[in-house]
Symmetry: D2
Subunit: 345 residues, 4 copies
Amino acid sequence: MGKLMFLSDYMEGCHIDVLKKLNETNMESTSGYGTDKYTLSAKKKINDLLEEDNDIYFLLGGTETNQVVIDKILRTYEGVISVDTAHIVGHEAGAIEFGGHKVIMLPNHDGKLSSLDLDKYMINFYKDSSYPHMVQPKMVYISNPTECGTLYTKKELEDIRNICDKYNLYFYCDGARLAYALASTKNDVSFKEFAKFFDAFYIGGTKCGLLFGEAVVLRNDSLKPGFFTTVKQHGALLAKGRILGVQFDTLFTDDLYFKIGSNAIKCANILKNGFKELGYKEYIDSPTNQLFIIIDNDKYEKLKEYAEVTYWGIYDDNNTIIRFVTSWATKEDDCYKLLNILKEL
Amino acid sequence: MGKLMFLSDYMEGCHIDVLKKLNETNMESTSGYGTDKYTLSAKKKINDLLEEDNDIYFLLGGTETNQVVIDKILRTYEGVISVDTAHIVGHEAGAIEFGGHKVIMLPNHDGKLSSLDLDKYMINFYKDSSYPHMVQPKMVYISNPTECGTLYTKKELEDIRNICDKYNLYFYCDGARLAYALASTKNDVSFKEFAKFFDAFYIGGTKCGLLFGEAVVLRNDSLKPGFFTTVKQHGALLAKGRILGVQFDTLFTDDLYFKIGSNAIKCANILKNGFKELGYKEYIDSPTNQLFIIIDNDKYEKLKEYAEVTYWGIYDDNNTIIRFVTSWATKEDDCYKLLNILKEL
Amino acid sequence: MGKLMFLSDYMEGCHIDVLKKLNETNMESTSGYGTDKYTLSAKKKINDLLEEDNDIYFLLGGTETNQVVIDKILRTYEGVISVDTAHIVGHEAGAIEFGGHKVIMLPNHDGKLSSLDLDKYMINFYKDSSYPHMVQPKMVYISNPTECGTLYTKKELEDIRNICDKYNLYFYCDGARLAYALASTKNDVSFKEFAKFFDAFYIGGTKCGLLFGEAVVLRNDSLKPGFFTTVKQHGALLAKGRILGVQFDTLFTDDLYFKIGSNAIKCANILKNGFKELGYKEYIDSPTNQLFIIIDNDKYEKLKEYAEVTYWGIYDDNNTIIRFVTSWATKEDDCYKLLNILKEL
Amino acid sequence: MGKLMFLSDYMEGCHIDVLKKLNETNMESTSGYGTDKYTLSAKKKINDLLEEDNDIYFLLGGTETNQVVIDKILRTYEGVISVDTAHIVGHEAGAIEFGGHKVIMLPNHDGKLSSLDLDKYMINFYKDSSYPHMVQPKMVYISNPTECGTLYTKKELEDIRNICDKYNLYFYCDGARLAYALASTKNDVSFKEFAKFFDAFYIGGTKCGLLFGEAVVLRNDSLKPGFFTTVKQHGALLAKGRILGVQFDTLFTDDLYFKIGSNAIKCANILKNGFKELGYKEYIDSPTNQLFIIIDNDKYEKLKEYAEVTYWGIYDDNNTIIRFVTSWATKEDDCYKLLNILKEL
């Protein structure tokens, strides 16, 4: 028997419904570069859900999407503000700097950006008379859930939006795992409400049931002109765009996107409750599909024989922080098996 | 009945063998970013075929691949030489310039670069005493077949390679449609021989039977360090890398890559002979899967009711240049149907 | 005795009036980065002369100025149109591409851009349905006088401006040698009229009497915000900005700028008439301070013993094209000496 | 009477010897772009002093110099390590990111980089198995003196150099105020010894007696090819290069460079001792030409009527941190006047 898989949410292919549709449409001849009927249908379904009329583009991966969007929003001398634990800071190999832009770091609070920190930064920025000599802050990047699995409340999003309005900053959300935020039992903001906070955001597909694909939603009209050419210039335009269209069209049919989120959260909650019962302490109190616990080093060594999890860091001399991730592909049964193993260690 | 489809070679999904394998492996859990067993197997198969030990990377699309490779090879102040009809000149929305590099254009000869032109350019470059004030030529880009469907002979490749050696230039081939070059009845160079001319080249998958994907083959050792990080920085690293691995592994199993090439060429030759018999004049004498004919404007209008082809340009007041493309997906039967329609116009 | 110097217009230091002012102000303590009184005064003098209220910045050199202005005007996926003989095409080592922008080349007519070519290019650009896949043309670059010493007429500038308005293109002029255009006896446009054609242009100082320095005049309001920070980001902001301020303040005091132009043109006309009398054929009929003649190879060899001129290219097997440049520093007497030498060769 | 000037070291023009030489050579005709005899002589003098045979280039300003050198040393996916208080972090408007490079920040210790921090960072970097997904550290940037006026000891430079060697990192020093480091009474490293620690460094002229100009010294052979073209591509090549050559030639004649350093340090020491006697507490114990004291807010307000100094930040509710800078242009007499004023406040 293979090991239990809790390593990440991109270890399998795609949801069976998505695969089925790719099979059905495989030999159809369609026009390229996202002009096909599946892409159009997928865009319409997302806009219908949000009750808006946004420009929507389907890109391939998260780093690429952040790079393209940030590059489109900013002029070279402008920077993007984010917390120091953000994906764009540490794990994109300088993709934002490649486009010429500085990432301006603020401290994270369990992975989240604080509107107070943001306000303070902006006040101090303009207080310094030499501010024209510095990179001009022009947008705010967050992800929801964050890299630490934590969630923004409606109030927190409102507060950041207000600071953005105060200083004329664009507000952008990396939604690589957005399905798992929306499905969280702690979440207090609907998809429709969520969208309205942002100038742009993306709906992650890679980690939420697709082979690959991220849907960029451009809400602010000023960002729309030239986006297609920007995508092309970054080499991010898929020739057979319908592969993305078919996938997203399926994802937004019969609530598949939300079902995928629910499965991961249901499994994560089984684990979360189980960890508590077994006396494992959480490193961060995450309400989404990434859970972080502190484990005795010896137990961790044994656990590795049975399950694949992510090493997250040293806690102290005797303990390690590890991460478990659930997804659309996780089975409830495997969660109970994992808890049994943790019990026996 | 739908129209006959000769628009391009990326209008359908993927070859049935590739799709089958994607289905079979879909629910397997594998490690990400190209470290999975399918990716490793695919790389081995390509290297075995070439009897070499190259670094191989699977990227997603052609523009992205050209951008990443050129950006890796060149320092900012260095430029890439190509013919004026090249894909990187006109159809990549400035992807090369986005990386900071100038494309130095030489005139094309039916889409091909002439080694004599190249030599002359280099001689004149260094003759001008102000050459350090100019972009330094450091690599040569060609595609085979070219944008015009034409083919380089072994002798022509040798000649360019020699000029590259003379001036210390890297030599790179865009192989978006390489399968159709290798399968051409006019081709005089084997896959193994072909590879040896280049410091780097890519084996196109998107236009040759895959959903998407291009295999970069790095032959020159000096290009290898840092390539993975460069790919990541460009946002070109697929999380579920095994989607590329599975596809290329299938493509290089049981000669599928070569069968795909053969089908397109067989169909193209049926068309080419048919055009001749019917008295249609070819605009360019192409021996691969893109055919260009001159057609009376009225006939072209009628043809559009029955078939999808590409408008290529005005020939004269009464005639138009159009392009027919065959592929792995083209049926012989459709070629004969097309010829019948052309006969009846 | 040293050789007669007709090599270029940047071989000496600066005009004596400028040097005098630098001496007088040397030990004054002023604020940095262009906030000093001399810089403010220089800006006011230029605006007063143009009867406008432009944003004006003093940069250091021509390539830097073109790079900063083009980078400020364009988004990365947008390109600048210029003739193939332009300075930004061949002699700036890829400075424009360094900022991510493609230079879109049109053929030159004695160094000049034709409004008809421009219109035709734009018509064809939007006719091609795949235009969003290409670099978007967004600005037009010219220099006046051109690299070939030729001059735009008022009518030609009007015609280009109209095409720019038709297609929403910014119009920018590189005025490295503008003083010599305005002073030309063939010039039909005043400084004030000239300015009104452009969204931005620069008044060259390096080749027109200063140690170094180019004054960017931003006329279009949309280009103004963020220009200071763009200059800083390019490393083009001089700490002791007053060195530029003092120089330009002097240049626009007592008509020095126009006197400098007049001296060069007077000298150039002496040469031009002399060449004609002596039977030397001009390669290009230039009305400014650069003159191009065709000379017998043997005579050219002898000439080199007496004068420094620029080799411009091969005319035919027996003849060479050479360039003579006059400037603010050229003495009439030296022109007559040169003509005598040419007579005696 | 004007206010006493202690604002910075770039408030006046240039040292009288430099100005004199610019006057004497003004009407000479020389070749451009740094090929003139004064530039060659200046390079020779620096190399003679260092007893080395380096490639030396004269650029115009500090930000430009850092940008060009870092851009030349790094590939796009590589980053530069520096302390968080470095000039390249906060005061260059993103000039390093403009070239595509991330600045990797480590904490400062009174403005200095610790070799222990550096070693720890590198160990952890390679420990993380996902390091190829991150910007690759490839060079270390320091300035000496630092932004806080502090000085590296010989031992500290040796330690950093050793870590650089261990991890194959280039080591680069921003020497904007190097003259004031070398002249410091606390300095324990000679100019010749200093140079040997680095792959490249620059000798600042702008803040040390010139109108402008920084001399880049390239010691590592691998950095030399293509440097000229890189300078040109950045728009950093002065047409009348001799203006830089004449200035640096004078600066390295008759020990002027060292005399300039000595004057600033002598004046700074007068102030430093005076502050102590008067009971002013230093915010940082700086041994060079920048001094930072803590001053009562009311006294600071009064001081502003008599002297220009730099506001550095809030110390606490009642006190402010201010900076005094001495230079080649500071008079001893003014230092005593300042101390008298501070006494009377």
